[in-house]
Symmetry: C2
Subunit: 200 residues, 2 copies
């Protein structure tokens, strides 16, 4: 059964329903809201999507998403280049940045080691990280990984891989709740965990 009488609207609803947290019903509501506010919301959203899809790329150094390469963070001369904060995904990087407590660089792994999901070291940006640790100005790698089994497995693996480079490996302090994803944490908790980081 189509959601509306028009194939153009049905196509829009079908695509909106694929967004995380959306279902067929909320997608219909979103489509109606968009059709009611064409100039203020629908057309600008179409343009923002198109612009981001075309221009936003992963930074070749750290893996952050930006229109520039190197990204704004890697290119920022006021950032502390002796610190590399290692995160699972770009969402975690954004969460760290919202906390506002960190002024170093980042490295986005693109996932976690996981036997269950078949994620091995070669599928993650781990070689790039060890290269940065060996060649750059980095003195400390702060592992900001989730306090889950996969997160901790990945942290142990990274600590071993980074050991030969002489870079100190630390991780975010307790304060990250067990099973908690960085992206869902409040900014204050992230800041506290950052300040209380300890050797891995």
């Amino acid at each position: 059964m189509p959601a509306s009488a028009s194939p153009e609207i049905d196509r829009l609803i079908g695509l909106l329903a694929k967004l995380p947290g959306m279902g067929p019903r909320s997608a219909r509501r979103a489509a109606l809201a968009l059709l009611k506010r064409r100039e203020q919301l629908m057309q600008p959203l179409a343009e923002a999507l198109s612009a981001a899809a075309e221009k936003v790329k992963p930074c070749s150094t750290c893996g952050a998403l930006d229109t520039r390469d190197p990204c704004a963070i890697c290119a920022d001369p006021t950032r502390d280049r002796t610190l590399i904060c290692v995160v699972e995904e770009v969402g975690a990087l954004w969460a760290m940045e919202r906390g506002g407590a960190y002024r170093g660089l980042y490295h986005v792994l693109g996932g976690l080691l996981s036997a269950l999901d078949g994620m091995g070291p070669d599928q993650l940006r781990i070689g790039e990280l060890t290269a940065r640790a060996r060649q750059g100005e980095a003195r400390e790698a702060i592992l900001a990984l989730p306090a889950t089994v996969d997160g901790q497995t990945t942290a142990h693996y990274l600590a071993e891989r980074l050991a030969p480079s002489g870079v100190q490996v630390t991780s975010l302090a307790r304060g990250v709740p067990v099973g908690g994803e960085l992206d869902w944490l409040d900014d204050g908790t992230i800041a506290q965990a950052l300040r209380a980081r300890r050797p891995a």
Copy 2:
């Protein structure tokens, strides 16, 4: 505090957060999901939004949203032109169509009479409805309005306005919804279902 380091992504997140049911957090998750699936989701969604914003218009007869005018329903020769189902919004029309039980025409009011929200008869498509009732082939106007104070106020007003046209005015039956447990129904629904009881 920006959500990301890139103004293009921040703009996208800001617009996504304006969709109903979305907040800043779910908008960030949606933006990340879109950036991960550019070809499959992000670019098609941009195009679908753009196409719908440009082409979809309210039908000048019934007020349904379609790329054609008259809309697919008004133009459908197999529809029963003696029936007009009056709904508050396009979302209600879509719900009726999904049900698949109705094969007549529609009339979208664009809202309900409401003293509180300052909605008077002139802000709704009521003149268009009485004109259709006078001039067309309509024999019955089925009021499919919500069972709220505003919905019932609007229904009474429409019944009065439509009386001179000679069109029969009916409304959807009130009663126990299919699959509804009596224990979870409000007292008003039970009382109405009881008053409208029929031979089993």
